[in-house]
């Protein structure tokens, strides 16, 4: 039998296979390169980048929960200028497309970061993070209101010709409303889910564990919620979906694909197994071969039928 096709197209971004990394869990790439051949991934999504450098939130910034973690990094990053100067040259050496995740305090911030990155070249697509629960301004505030989500999307849309992936928050009553709204505003693809808003308390101190009180929940614990979100959004809009949230095996990835995701991202799982993303690529291929499926795209959304 010939090898099954793994290539997917995510709103104009061609990926050789449907596996990428979730922003914020894979640094800018070099951090994991001792462990994994990044070029074997369909794409790599790098850390959330903002107009100005950000210090992030006070520590502790992470705490483990049952089958999950809470993080409150708060978008610490060196700012877009630094990323362009120091990481773009590295991105250009990769044989896999790089998607930069962008964030801002204001709509203009987003647009400016998008513009700077597009002009610099070497970036294959932008992921617009309107769903970070760890910042006071911007982030989730944009993502939980369909109108504001559309505003951010439209502003970035005017600032760039790059494929635009808009990243949705699960912390909403109806995720399909936001999905529909950003679709109309010019998104080329959607990624979901960002983290669930959560917290933990240290009963010895009687205080919240995280320096920032609340944080974002990720990891296997959230998989059922993420899968449901993908299922709902697949029914609501036509855009390709990058599914994520608790994926740590090829089986998990296949669940997301069957629910409607055209690609998947590995986040928290990288921390436990730094080679997981490539193992998921291999596992998907194996499944296709075993089940005589020629093209991964045939699996997308099959669970709806």
């Amino acid at each position: 039998m010939t090898k099954p096709n793994l290539a997917v197209n995510i709103g104009g971004l061609q990926m050789k296979n449907p596996v990428t990394t979730a922003s914020g869990t894979f640094g800018f790439g070099p951090e994991y390169s001792p462990y994994i051949d990044i070029n074997q991934l369909g794409a790599v999504v790098v850390k959330g980048t903002t107009l100005k450098p950000r210090q992030g939130n006070p520590t502790p910034r992470m705490v483990e929960t049952p089958s999950g973690i809470l993080n409150s990094i708060g978008l610490q990053n060196p700012g877009v200028e630094y990323v362009i100067e120091h990481y773009l040259p590295y991105f250009k050496t990769l044989q896999t497309p790089v998607i930069v995740n962008i964030s801002g305090d204001t709509v203009e911030d987003y647009a400016q970061v998008a513009e700077k990155l597009s002009q610099a070249g070497g970036v294959a697509a932008l992921e617009v993070n309107i769903s970070c629960p760890n910042v006071k301004k911007g982030g989730m505030a944009f993502g939980s209101d369909p109108a504001m989500a559309a505003e951010v999307t439209a502003a970035v849309r005017s600032a760039t010709n790059l494929p635009l992936v808009v990243k949705l928050s699960p912390n909403v009553t109806d995720i399909t409303k936001v999905a529909e709204s950003v679709t109309k505003a010019g998104a080329n693809a959607l990624s979901l889910i960002n983290t669930l808003l959560g917290m933990a308390i240290d009963i010895n101190t009687g205080r919240p564990v995280l320096g920032n009180i609340m944080g974002g929940l990720s990891g296997p614990a959230v998989k059922p919620v993420a899968l449901r979100a993908v299922w709902q959004v697949y029914d609501a809009v036509q855009l390709p979906i990058i599914g994520m949230g608790g994926i740590s095996t090829a089986e998990d990835a296949l669940e997301f694909i069957m629910a409607g995701a055209s690609a998947v991202a590995l986040g928290t799982a990288n921390f436990i197994n730094p080679r997981v993303a490539v193992e998921v690529v291999d596992g998907i291929e194996e499944y296709l071969t075993k089940n005589g499926i020629n093209d991964v795209n045939e699996l997308v959304g099959v669970a709806h039928s």
């Binding site: 914020g24 869990t25 894979f26 640094g27 951090e31 994991y32 001792p34 462990y35 850390k47 210090q55 992030g56 520590t59 502790p60 910034r61 992470m62 705490v63 483990e64 049952p66 089958s67 999950g68 973690i69 993080n71 990094i73 610490q76 990891g219 296997p220 614990a221 740590s248 928290t268 990288n270 921390f271 436990i272 730094p274 080679r275």
Partner: protein, 260 residues
């Protein structure tokens, strides 16, 4: 060089109530590991606990390719670690972090360890002894039973000063008191509870002794990618967050912002 290894456990011995010494086989790791570096260890086989746990490289025997971990059972991860049996597989990532800057051979060195803080210092002592560097060890703990691997350190031929909070052995009080009167120290290394390291750093600052400390923070990735493990360090302008896993865990005492 960083590795992802399935190593075979050789032994996993309980030292006291809640401390264990594990040895496993990995020639590759033994060949490259530096004192002060750590491993990111998978303690369980399910998603609970989810994350790896950072554990310092405690000892290395290059000839036999044996690496040792000294650890305290603190919670569910280390509890699972303590249940592993010889012959079982240990999944470790590493060596991670920067490690201690080795002293010049002429320098007179002291290490100051508090409780489980002796873990990374022992490998440093191994290495310094092998290079014939003169070093002393100041070791403190709450009580005599929690002064770990003292016999092993003695076997290296190291001069040891002991202190215990409850006076059950050695000096009755904080180990830093012993340091106050210690003459002829060119360089200090310390690992232990934060207040202890802070006291050492202050003392060292006053006496102008170059000092390195090994810090701890809750970790996610262990490789510098997630920015979970940051600590604040003094820089030219603002204080900045640095990553304990990738920029540390060893920092110069003078850089660390202790009042964070």
């Amino acid at each position: 060089m960083s590795l992802l290894i399935n190593a075979t456990i050789l032994s996993n011995n309980q030292l006291n109530n809640n401390h264990y010494l594990m040895k496993f086989n990995s020639g590759q790791l033994a060949a490259v590991a530096k004192p002060g570096q750590f491993l990111h260890v998978k303690c369980g086989g399910t998603t609970d606990p989810l994350l790896r746990r950072p554990i310092s490289i405690h000892s290395v025997n290059k000839d036999d390719g044996v690496v040792g971990l000294l650890y305290r059972v603190a919670g569910k991860g280390t509890k699972l670690l303590s249940q592993k049996k010889p012959g079982e597989i240990l999944d470790v990532m590493g060596p991670l972090g920067n490690g201690f800057t080795m002293p010049n051979t002429a320098e007179k060195v002291a290490v100051v360890g508090g409780g489980i803080g002796i873990a990374p210092l022992y490998y440093l002592l191994q290495k310094m002894t092998a290079e014939n560097i003169t070093c002393k060890a100041y070791l403190g703990a709450r009580t005599a039973a929690e002064l770990l691997v003292v016999e092993n350190i003695k076997k290296l031929g190291i001069d040891i000063q002991l202190a215990s909070d409850d006076g059950s052995t050695g000096f009755h009080g904080p180990v830093t008191e012993l340091l106050k009167d210690a003459p002829n120290i060119d360089r200090l290394y310390t690992c232990g509870p934060l207040p202890m390291m802070k006291a050492v750093a202050q003392l060292a600052g006053e006496r102008g002794i170059p000092t390195q400390v090994s810090l701890e923070e809750r970790m996610g990735c262990g490789v510098g990618a997630c920015l979970a493990c940051t600590c604040r360090v003094k820089t030219a302008g603002d204080n900045q967050y640095k990553r304990v896993c990738a920029d540390g865990p060893v920092f110069n005492a003078g850089e660390v912002v202790w009042d964070d």
